[in-house]
Amino acid sequence: MDVHVELLLGTKVRDTDGNIVGRIEELRVDRDDNSCRVESYLIGASAVIERLSAWTLIRPVARALHAHKLYQVYDVRWQDMDLSDPARPKLRIARSDLRHVK
Amino acid sequence: MRLKRLVVVPLVMAIGCKPPTPAEQLDSIVSWVSTAKMAGDAWLRHTTPDKYTRQTLELSGQMLLETGSQVLRSPPATLDSAAFDRALTSTRFNIAEMARFVEEKDAGRFRQPWDSLRIYLKTMRDFSASAAAGK
C-alpha cells in the first residue's frame, strides 16, 4: 500500500487503548545506494522542534523554565506502528513501552 | 488567525474610516488655507510650475468648500457660524482669484489676494483655536 508521507504529518496517533499519544511530525530514514527505509516515526509536540531544527533556541528557554516536558519526543520504531489506515495510525504497543529521544 | 486578520482589517478600513470631529475639520481648514498660502509664496519666487500651483490652489478651494460645509452642517457650540461662513466664503474667493492670476501668469495682481490670505489664515486659526478651547 502506498502512503503519502506529507499527508501523514500532523496526524494523531493512538495507542492500543485508543488514547491519543501525539502527532507524527518527523520520519527517520536510513538511506543507502538505491533505497530509503523508514526506521522510526517521531511523535509529540517537540518533534516539531526537531523538524524545525530549532533546539538551539528552545533548549535554553526550556532549561530556564525547567520545562522537561518539552523534551518529550517519542521515537516509534517502524515495527510498532500500524499504518493499515494512514488516516488513523495506531501503535502496536502500549504507551508505557514507548522510548523517548533526547 | 493571521489570515483572518489580513482579510478583516482592510475590509473594516475600506468600509468606514472614523468621521472627523469638528475640531479636526477646523484644523484641516487651517491646513488647506495654509497650503494655499505656501503654494502662493513658492509661486511668487518662480520656483514652482504654474500648472501645479493652479491645481493646488483649486484643490485647496475645493477642500475648503467640502470641509467647510461639513462644519456648518453640525457646528460646535462655541463657533459663530455666520462669521465662519462669511470668512470661509471670502477665503475661497481669494484662493479662486489667486488661481485665476496664476493662470494668467499675472504676478502683480496675484499679490493682492495672496496678501489678504494672511489675514484669513489668522481668522481661521482663531476659529480653530476657539473650537479646540471650547472642547
Binding site: - | 486578520r5 482592510p10 474610516c17 484644523d27 484641516s28 491646513s31
Partner: protein, 404 residues
Amino acid sequence: MKKILQLSLGIVTSVGGFLEIGSVITAAQAGAQFGYKLLWAILLGTLCLIFLVEMSGRLAAVSKHTIVDATRERFGFPFFFIVLIGVVLIAFMVLVAELGGIGFGIQILTGVGFPWWAVPVSLLVWLLMWKGTFGLIENGASLLGLVTISFLVSALKLHPDWSSAASSLLPSMPDGDKARYGFLAVSILGASISPYLMYFYSSGAIEDKWDTTYIPINRFIAGLGMTFGGALSMAVLVVAALTFQPRGIQVDTFPQAALMMTTALPRWGFYLFAFSMIFACFGAALEVSLAIAYFFSQGFGWNWSQDIKPSKNSRFAFIYTLIILLAAIPLVFGIDPIKVTVLSMALTSATLPLAIVPFLLLMNDPIYLGKYRNGWISNTVVSIVVVISFVLAVISIPLQIIGG
C-alpha cells in the same frame, strides 16, 4: 578590489533604496502633526532593519539559500503558503503605492493627473525588468536615488533644534491625539522595516554569488547603508516638522507634501522633491516587483535570475509581468496612493511576526548557518522590535478606525 566596489555600491543602494513613498509620506505626516516626537520610531525601525538586512545577507552567504528557500524547506508548504499570501498581498499594495508615487511626481511637474501616468510608468518599470540586468537595476536605480540626499541638505539648512531632536529619540507620550500618534508610529515602523527589502537583498547576495568571505562586508553594508537610509527618513521628518507644523499644514495629499523643501531650498526645493519621489519610488517599484517574483520562484523551486533572458526563466518573468500590469489597474481608476501607502505600511507592521519569526528561527539553525548562527544580541533586538511593532499595530489600527 571587487569587494570594495561592492561595498560602495551597497551603501549607495541603501541610501537610494531606503527612502520611498512609504517612508517619505509617513515621516512627513508625523513631522507635520507631532514635530520631532516620532523620531524614535524611525530609529527603532532602522535599528531593526540593520539587523534584519545583515541577517539576510549572512544567511545567503553561508547557506547559499535565500530567506524564501529556507522558509519553504524548513517550515513546509502549508506554512509557507500563509507567509506567501501575507507578504505578496502587502508587497503588491506597496507596489501600487510606489507606482502612484512616480505618477504623482510626474503630476506635479506636468500638471497631468497621476491616473494617466499609471500605465506608461508601469510599462517603463516592466521594460527595465525585462531588459535590465540585476546590476543595472540595483545600481542604476539607486544612483539616481541619491537625489534624495536633498532631504538631508534641507534639514541641515533649516537649523533644527538638535537637543530637542535628540530627546525625541526616546519614545514619549504626545499631548494630542494618542490613537493617531500610535498609528503613525506603526506606519513608520512598517515603512522602515520593509520585508521586501530583505527578500531583495538576500536574493541579490545569491545573484552576486556571495560566500562566507563576504560576511564582514555584509555587516558593514547593512550597518552603514541602513544608517544612511534611516538618517534620510529622519531628515524628511525634521523638514516636515520645521516647515509644516508651524504653518498647521497636514500632509493629506501629495501636492501638499511637494511644498516640503520650498523654504529650505527656495530655488530647487520643489523640483528636488519631485525628482526624489520619482527616482526613489522607481527604484522601490523595481525592488518590490523583483521581490515578489523572487518569492514565487524560490518558494516553488523555479529557475530564477534577473541576469538571464526572460525566455530562460519564463515563470519568473511571467510573475513580474503580471504583477506590474495588475498594479497599474487600481491607479488607473484613481485610487489614492497616499491612502494605499499609509494602509500598507501599517499592515506591514501588523504582519511583521509572520515574516520575521520564521526568519529568526532559521537564523538560529545550526544546519543552515553552523557557527555563523545569530548571537543573542541580534535575536534580542529583532524580537523586541517585532513585538513592539506588532503590539502597537494591534492596538492602534483599530483605534485609528473607530476613533480613539
